[in-house]
């Protein structure tokens, strides 16, 4: 264990935490980012800044599912994010202030922390009819997004709706909804964390990464972090061995279903979806949809509501894919296209492989889950 820095005692007393708690916490951060131990000092330094970075969380055409998902984070917990790591100054779902006081808090951030704060966006942004389909404090979501996100140091779009318009944008898109990057083009340092909802483990890792290195992890063409969206679900699936052996669920609740056979014939979209769902899982690594018995709906894929539905329809045969094609072929198609772009596993090597991954990503023609998108 590296010796703690000289300024630490003071920093600790400011935070009201013991030295032991702090060391434990720093180690946790290092583990979250899957960093080598030598990064411990960088994490320590980041966590003992006298001023915590400011974060605002904007909700537009949303269901608050991404906010709720964030409440379920464990490493760090939401209390640690809000009290110890950031000054989380605006978040409609959980902030103390309301109405005028809430609006003033947001305005103060934009004014006093211009170019320094992080904006997290949840929900789509309606652009039809002058944006009347979502107003907050009498202002349209579009106006707020331009104003707040335009002055942020980094923008994090969480969930499918903020990324690409999500469900709200699904055909016929009654409100002209768009994701953040299309509604407000040209935002700097934008990262998309798709999923319905986003997996808070990934978002936590991105936030801690930003806190530590003032930078975003390696991204793909959709501005998604490769560590979370670089691998095909089918390739990481715990039911994969059954697929390879030709063992499928044929009817809901049949013997194959009880034995955990492959859900491909029930419409599972795992072969066309990327996400680290099977490895990170949900709710403290408890489970994920395929483990719980239902097929994947590819909720982290681009515009999945239209491109991946109907959800119970078996994936069509595509070149190199089909039940009659061997699993090996599938594997080669999948990994061959972007093998170089894939960062090892989960959050692993996010930093060490950063440069390499970026270069590799440039070479990859399109993300693995982009068919039909």
């Amino acid at each position: 264990m590296r010796a703690l820095r000289g300024t630490l005692p003071k920093a600790l007393s400011i935070r009201g935490v013991s030295r032991r708690e702090f060391v434990k916490f720093c180690n946790l951060m290092v583990a979250t980012l899957a960093l080598p131990p030598r990064y411990l000092s960088a994490v320590e330094k980041a966590l003992t800044q006298s001023t915590r970075p400011v974060l605002v969380w904007l909700e537009f055409q949303d269901c608050a599912g991404n906010s709720e998902s964030m409440l379920r984070t464990s490493n760090p917990t939401v209390a640690e994010f809000v009290l110890d790591l950031f000054s989380w100054e605006y978040h409609e779902l959980i902030m103390a202030g309301a109405g005028k006081q809430a609006e003033e808090a947001l305005e103060r951030v934009v004014r006093e922390h211009k170019g320094e704060y992080i904006a997290v966006v949840e929900g789509a942004i309606p652009t039809a009819d002058g944006g009347v389909y979502c107003t907050i404090g009498g202002k349209t979501a579009l106006e707020i997004a331009k104003h707040v996100c335009g002055s942020a140091a980094a923008n994090i779009a969480v969930g499918a709706c903020a990324w690409d318009g999500g469900l709200v944008r699904a055909n016929p898109n009654p409100t002209g909804a768009l994701g953040l990057q299309e509604a407000v083009p040209g935002l700097k340092n934008l990262i998309n964390l798709g999923g319905c909802p986003h997996n808070p483990a990934n978002t936590a890792a991105v936030l801690v990464h930003y806190l530590t290195f003032h930078d975003l992890p390696a991204l793909d063409q959709y501005s998604r972090p490769l560590f979370a969206y670089g691998n095909i679900i089918h390739d990481q699936c715990e039911r994969r061995a059954h697929y390879d052996a030709g063992r499928f669920v044929e009817e809901w609740g049949d013997e194959g279903h009880r034995k955990g056979y492959c859900l491909y014939k029930m419409g599972c979209k795992g072969p066309e979806a990327t996400y680290n769902c099977p490895t990170v899982r949900w709710n403290d690594g408890t489970s994920w949809p395929v483990k719980a018995g239902h097929g994947c709906i590819a909720c982290a894929s681009h515009r999945f509501w239209d491109t991946k539905s109907p959800f119970y329809k078996r994936l069509p045969s595509v070149p190199g894919f089909g039940v009659d094609v061997t699993a090996d072929e599938i594997g080669w198609v999948a990994t061959g296209a972007v093998a170089a772009a894939m960062v090892a596993q989960v959050a692993g090597n996010m930093v060490r492989d950063k440069m390499r991954a970026k270069k590799a990503a440039e070479k990859a023609s399109e993300p693995l889950d982009s068919r039909g998108a």
């Binding site: 935070r15 009201g16 935490v17 915590r52 909700e59 269901c63 608050a64 709720e68 998902s69 409440l71 379920r72 464990s74 939401v78 809000v82 009290l83 950031f86 989380w88 409609e92 779902l93 959980i94 902030m95 103390a96 309301a98 109405g99 005028k100 006081q101 809430a102 808090a105 789509a124 039809a128 002058g130 009347v132 389909y133 979502c134 107003t135 907050i136 009498g138 106006e143 469900l167 944008r169 699904a170 016929p172 898109n173 009654p174 409100t175 909802p197 809901w252 009880r258 955990g260 949900w282 403290d284 408890t286 489970s287 949809p289 395929v290 483990k291 719980a292 018995g293 239902h294 539905s309």
Partner: protein, 569 residues
């Protein structure tokens, strides 16, 4: 006379705006407006009814799963599908878990700060806080040292001058009455509840794959296969043990922390038993079938309606009597906006006619909300935990009656005190207690079925759309945490022709109807005192007591013959 505006109303789900007229330090009139619209039902048209639940569930991510359940109920009703007993049990477990979770988060994270002054906690004596905590509960986390550590954390936060989420609160407002020690205890429990909610919801992860937005519902049952000998099965003996263990921990938290806290807070705010009364009409569709879903008599929470605060009579609920008005909503009805429409005949033509943003005030005498105004036999209804508890109480359900009477005795309050802001809070807590206690029983029943070889989880007779009639329609009811939820579906040629949801917060947060009758929020705000119009804390107390959920509330109904003019962007 002053017009006050609270927009955004925070610590709720969604985008709610309240405008209120204040005269002589009291609210004389109020208008509730939903300011966001997505159009999910329009998006559902033409899609496979078997996957409607996946889409509908996204109506709300706070009360996730409730729309999934109402949706499968509706499609099963339309197609005449009866689900296996195990599916009923799993759905009850998932739903009860959702409600317990939602109510705990509501009390601690969405509502508590209306009653708890965090800054005042700095002045608390941790030793006295410990005594206070131990006098009301045997919850183990109650030592002086523990409360000191929580206080240190608050002190550090305030000293940093970066108050984070707590920066814009109404601290020091004269309407805060808790002593510093009670405030400190509440802050500690706010943090503990944050921890609790993410542990407890692992029940959803086991049975639903994830939370929010579970993924194991099926029309005809559940995908949560059961097998006593298969580690790959969703439900096996090991998982039953896990579910039981988590359910029991919820029982402890609710009985030893949540309930004592609610009683303690209520003791300091007794005048709120006389405020925020509202409509006096209460409706519950009933929930948690313990036999066939077709027979509400077996439901754990009863179905019925109470009118004009008369607890001596429970009226039946007939789905045919539910209608919606758009007189004051930003929609148009063919045939005029003065008449209401039943969900099966509903229409949705969004037509915004409010002020051009940015705006300062809404035109409240015209149309002023994206919410419609649902009515039952033309009467506005309050729905939610209070309505459910009152209907169950008035129906004479023994466990509910015993619990309510014992609580009222403890609070030295008559049943009429329940018609209030504090009554809603108490009812929500008591419902949490009832459900947390019942939850373990349902898990045990599921475990018994597993042990005795009753493993059927899905009824696949009608899974193939070719087995369906050319047309079918049905409805599905459920009592979501925030109240009565109904989905109506019309199926034609194997696809959704028409889909509608009439949801809890539309009942509560909706605007006036053609006759000018206020919605539940609007009515409850009348006579609410406002000491400082710049910081309308009291207004928030009453609105929050309903636990608003606006994403749910704003929806497009029907679309029969309505062509959406907007091209896909």
């Amino acid at each position: 006379m002053a017009r006050i505006v609270v927009d955004p109303v925070t610590r709720i789900e969604g985008h709610l705006r309240i405008e209120a007229q204040v005269e002589g330090g009291m609210i004389s009139d109020a208008w509730s407006s939903g300011t966001m619209f997505r159009g999910i039902e329009l998006i559902l048209r033409g899609r496979d009814p078997r996957e409607a639940w996946i889409w509908a569930q996204r109506i709300c991510g706070v009360c996730t799963m409730v729309h999934a359940l109402a949706s499968v109920n509706a499609v099963e009703d339309a197609l005449g599908i009866e689900v296996p007993d195990n599916a009923r049990l799993v759905r009850n477990i998932i739903a009860a878990t959702q409600t317990v979770q939602d109510h705990v988060i509501h009390f601690y994270h969405l509502h508590a700060l209306d009653w708890v002054d965090i800054v005042s906690a700095l002045k608390a004596d941790p030793a006295k806080t410990s005594q206070l905590a131990q006098s009301i509960s045997n919850w183990p986390m109650s030592s002086e040292k523990y409360f000191k550590s929580v206080q240190d954390r608050v002190t550090a936060l305030v000293a940093s001058k970066q108050l984070s989420l707590f920066g814009a609160g109404y601290w020091g407002h004269p309407a805060y009455h808790l002593p510093p020690e009670a405030n400190l205890m509440a802050v500690a429990h706010y943090l503990e509840a944050l921890q609790f909610q993410k542990e407890f919801i692992r029940i959803h992860a086991v049975l639903g794959g994830k939370n929010p937005h579970l993924q194991t519902f099926l029309v005809g049952g559940m995908a949560t296969v059961m097998d006593p000998n298969e580690p790959g099965a969703t439900v096996n003996p090991e998982r039953i043990d896990f579910l039981l263990q988590v359910a029991k921990s919820a029982q402890s938290f609710v009985n030893q922390v949540y309930i004592p806290d609610v009683l303690a807070v209520a003791g300091f705010y007794r005048d709120w038993f006389e405020r925020g009364e509202g409509l006096g009409n209460f409706m519950s569709y009933g929930a948690y079938p313990q036999g066939s879903i077709k027979d509400p008599a077996n439901f754990f929470l009863a179905r019925g309606i109470i009118l004009n605060r008369d607890l001596s009579k429970v009226h039946p609920v007939d789905p045919a009597n539910v209608t919606e008005y758009v007189t004051h909503s930003w929609y148009e009805y063919s045939g005029g906006d003065q008449a209401a429409k039943h969900p099966f005949d509903g229409e949705t033509n969004p037509k915004y006619s409010g002020p051009k943003p940015p705006y300062e005030f809404l035109e409240v005498d015209q149309k002023y909300s994206w919410l419609k105004a649902p009515r039952y036999q033309d009467q506005p209804m309050e729905v939610g935990p209070l309505a459910r508890l009152l209907v169950a109480y008035a129906s004479g359900q023994p466990d509910v009656k015993a619990l309510v009477d014992a609580t009222l005795t403890k609070l030295k309050a008559p049943p009429a005190a329940l018609f209030s802001t504090l009554g809603r809070i108490a009812a929500r807590a008591l419902e949490t207690q009832l459900l947390a206690n019942r939850l373990t029983g349902w898990v045990e029943e599921l475990g018994n079925n597993l042990a005795t070889g009753n493993l059927r989880i899905h009824n696949g007779e009608k899974w193939d759309p070719k087995s369906w009639p050319k047309t079918a329609r049905g409805f599905g009811f459920f009592e979501a945490p925030r109240g009565s939820l109904g989905h109506w579906v019309e199926i034609e040629d194997q696809a959704i022709k028409n889909y509608q949801a009439v949801v809890p917060s539309t009942w509560n947060a909706g605007p006036r109807d053609a006759r000018g009758q206020r919605g539940a929020y609007e009515a409850a705000l009348i006579k609410t005192p406002v000491a400082d119009p710049d910081r309308p804390l009291e207004l928030l107390r009453t609105i929050h007591s309903f636990d608003p959920c606006l994403a749910c509330a704003v929806h497009v109904v029907d679309a029969r013959g309505h062509t959406c003019s907007r091209a896909e962007a």
